[in-house]
Amino acid sequence: VSIDNRIRTAIGATAATVREIPPLTLPPDPAPAHPGRLPVRRPRRDWSGWLIPVAAAVAVIAVAATLVAVRTVSGPAPHGVGQPGPATSGVAANPNQVPAYYAVVTKPTAATPADLTIAETATGKTLFTIKPPQNTSFGSVTAAADDRTFIVSVAPLPSDLSLPMVVVGWDLLRVNPGATGYTLRRLSIPATPRKTLLGGLALSPDGTELAALFDSDPAATAPVEGAATLRIYSVASGQALHTWQSVSKQNLTALGANSGASGTVTWLANGHGLAFVWDATEHTGQDLWKVTPEVWRLDLAKPPGTGLLAGSTPVVMNPTGVFAGGVWVNGICSRLYATADGNGAVCGTESMLAVPNGTTDCQATMPPLAFRALSGDGGSYRVLYTVPSARAPKGKCVDGIASVLWASPSGSTLVGVVSTALVSGSLDLGPFTNVVGVLAHGRWTPLPIHVQLGQVAELAF
């Protein structure tokens, strides 16, 4: 019996022990004057938790302020951020400059299809909010190096929240010079088979070709053998120009994006290749898996073979993650972002905890988060910036994640987000505070971009 089956069986058996539950007991007065102890329910309940949310909200702000010195950027753009202005489609902007615009696809619900928003990086100002075509929703989005061309996938209406990764069409969006308007047109790139999920997406530097990585197994919730497909399409004709497929039985299992579709595939700055991130699964024993993200570089000059890896070169292997005592240690990368020089990756770390008994992730002092540059095999990395540690108020806990949203080809400049949360109170609805910023030359400059990552499906620069 595989471990996976054993886990599923045990979970199912445990869940099946819950058959009858008591009815809901609501307070007799629908508007109690004081949100304190309520008159019914189990006598051992402690209702003091009702008072926590307001204090928590205040404390979240305080902790965020100690983590990162948030400065409102007004007037001149932060150093290194591109300025909106005239541009010619297809001409790459300075690749080391933070793109002037970014795109956000919201998370859809059954009642509300996902919108696409284009906004200014320097100011956070929303330029356009675009509704999807009727009876569809937007899915994923990627930007070209010319900084004003985006391709967005169109998904079915979300009766199931995994459906945004199904592609029924592709739209090309171009922001007019001066951001005075935009054009949106349907491309002739074909829809993908129903049981194929989009795992990665990247536009070539000149905006003429689209690379898409597909995951073949939408039901995969565990490391399983499977094949992934990387395909390059002509934006103009919609034709598939090249196709590579991973080979089953290899010790790599392509599970597609490890952080949504954007950022998983990166077109090299010279246009001659792609770098892609895998969640690689190595079977180290019959029931043992070692799951690590890896970065590989695909050389487009080599003829496509039967295997995706046959034409690819490993760039970052075994980057992070030390397993000891039954748990993972702190400081692992939350995601990898393959850099466009094809030589490595950048990442942010997360304060995933390694509590000895694993029963709680409560920590009064959050370990420092960091942005790192990684290369080679074995986890060597260079710290680009360390986010100061934070301490929670008494009785509270603090957690955090740093993620890379965009990186320059060398990784020397990046846009990242530092998400922190005070953990308290059972009514904490949106505990994470997200600070988006530019990291260049070891200096972190917050941007006035206010985004709730929990409500965002994709964010692309």
């Binding site: 445990t14 609501l26 995994s162 565990a222 029931d287 799951v291 748990v327 929990g454």
Partner: protein, 165 residues
Amino acid sequence: VPAAGAEGQVTALYQAHATGLVRLAMLMLGDQGAAEDVVQDAFLGLYRRWSALSDPDRAVAYARSSVLNGCRDALRRRSRKIPAALLEPDAESAEARALLGEEHREVLVALRRLPSRQREAVVLRHCLGLPEGEVAEAMKVSRGTVKSASHRGLAALARILKEDQ
């Protein structure tokens, strides 16, 4: 102030979803009584905030997040009161022990040794069968974090179970 009709709507939601949420909390806490408390709390919170909900279609997602937060709170309270070495056996009810075979118990004990984020990701994906998007919403993390946490959690479970053999 709960809106008019909140009681009926929240009660209907409870009847439709509470059993699944108690199962979720049971997996997190190992104790059905504590799990029921957490779920009751979550729905009571939903009731109290019903008029402030911008999108009633998200009420179940709200309740699920509240259940997860309630489980985190319960685990923290428990870890402060009980020595870690005694935690795992004490955290499990006698009823659950009687109903579950030894092999299943090993898995559940291993599950509780995972860091919370990994445990939540594994339980939500494997127990409730939620798509990644909904798991991400419940955990307030990105879909990528859900994917990595569930994979790491499964790998860690495999390691723990192998080590314990």
